[in-house]
Symmetry: C2
Subunit: 258 residues, 2 copies
DNA sequence: GCAAAAGTGTTCTCCTTACACCCATGT
DNA sequence: ACATGGGTGTAAGGAGAACACTTTTGC
């Protein structure tokens, strides 16, 4: 166990990347779908391939901050949820140099994501229809997708795709899009209400061509209580940022099978 | 997003540490308890404080390999389970220098751990009765403990503390020690058998002063099937090593409350 | 036979699921 | 009125918890 840190030539390079999720209608089917913004690599290695937003870790910047920063640089948005995913460090994952990437995953609000910046070098892709990406980024995204879909079933994070207030139908649409299966509205309502993670505002939405739905808001006090031993981190620009992944007490996953 | 990795002076140092768990009788109560081996720091900073085994990451070594190596150097054992826990990189976690630590957690067999090496600079501690440790290592262990206790409830990993064959009473004892609560033997049996993760060998253990219990073995084919998108990594010396944390299909958590 | 742990059977309760049905609004 | 989704009622099925009871060994 050497006490002196290794020099530049004999050390791995440390990078931070982020898998960013937003919910938008699918281009052809129109159904709500998970989208991910990627950036085009402008240099070698892997020039012109699409890749996760990220960069080298500055010595004086926190890991989460670096993730939140690259997220902002890519989407122009602040994340509503940001959590460390995994650290990838295989010897051969980047040709020529040993790179260790601390990868985060994030959720941004769907409404905002609609007007997210898109340019020659930044493009949004449907999460399940990705082209071959740079490095091991396909594998990383597969894992992030799995984590999102798993976590949504046991933790109250779905609201991170929505605004401050929302109808239960909107919340249910998030679950259906993420889990890719229909959910029974009746059971969903009961499960969510029983979980206590959600509070009725008393207001309703008018203008629909049917019975006006009630508006709900997430109970922030509950969110704080379920973080486990390591509390949520805070990042300058961001809102709610999760520390080491910790289970929440109750989250709806009700409804029909398949 | 700079393309060139930063040099030594403006880069964080990359370290790998491991939280190692074994099950041994508590020194006073005699009950099965979680133990953790720690090493005494022989240099500054934090000289003479106890710390997690670990070291700087060599450029040419895989992250898991580095974790498995430090584990072997500390306990003299090969891990039966090894999984990445989290990456800690707070600016102020190590005085004087920016250190980013990729932390793994491991389980070693209890029987072997009995005769694990202990010396002036390596000592085993009861996991819930730790002194103040170096750096943020108390916090890291708290998180590792939480992860172990959470994961044991939904993934079939408890057998990693045991040998190739075991009785259901031994397996139950593992659960009781980790979860710190009594479990009903009758319900435990049914839940485990229904999970399909365990197979009877047909043999029994003689010599007890009661009815001879049957011996079981874990079904390895099931273990492989539940890894999710990223399969288990393999490490030269180790046995079963888990890739990015993925849920298992079924694991017992039956029995009495509290 | 007795103690002790292995192993089986049975009931109760709670949570999830399925689905019938009523409610409130726009057209 | 009627279409549409919001919202309520209710019953069936399954998993977990509690606990009585039977089996098989050592002493």
């Amino acid at each position: 166990m050497p006490e002196r840190a290794p020099g530049a030539t004999d050390a791995a390079a440390l990078a931070v990347s982020t898998v960013i999720f937003a919910l938008r209608p699918h281009e052809t089917t129109g159904r709500m779908t998970l989208w991910i913004p990627l950036v085009r690599r402008t240099r070698n290695p892997q020039k012109d391939l699409w890749a996760l937003p990220g960069g080298w870790l500055p010595v004086d910047e926190e890991l989460v901050s670096a993730a939140a920063r690259t997220l902002g640089e890519t989407t122009g948005l602040a994340p509503t949820y940001l959590e460390q995913l995994y650290t990838f460090g295989e010897l051969e994952r980047s040709p020529g140099r040993r790179v260790v990437s601390v990868v985060y995953w994030a959720m941004v609000q769907s409404a905002e994501a609609e007007r997210a910046s898109e340019s020659e070098n930044v493009r949004w892709f449907v999460a399940d229809e990705l082209p071959p990406l740079a490095f091991d980024h396909n594998r990383i995204i597969d894992y992030a997708l799995w984590r999102l879909r798993t976590k949504v079933e046991y933790a109250a994070i779905a609201h991170a795709f929505l605004g401050a207030t929302f109808t239960l139908a909107e919340l249910r649409e998030v679950y259906e899009a993420v889990l890719q299966r229909p959910i029974d509205p009746a059971n969903f309502r009961r499960t969510v209400e029983a979980s206590g993670t959600v509070v009725a505002t008393g207001e309703v939405v008018a203008g629909t061509r049917h019975r006006p739905p009630r508006l709900y808001r997430y109970d922030a006090s509950i969110d704080l209580a379920d973080r486990g031993p390591l509390g949520p981190e805070s990042v300058p620009g961001g809102q709610s940022v999760a520390g080491p992944s910790v289970s929440a007490p109750s989250v709806p996953s009700t409804g029909e099978q398949r």
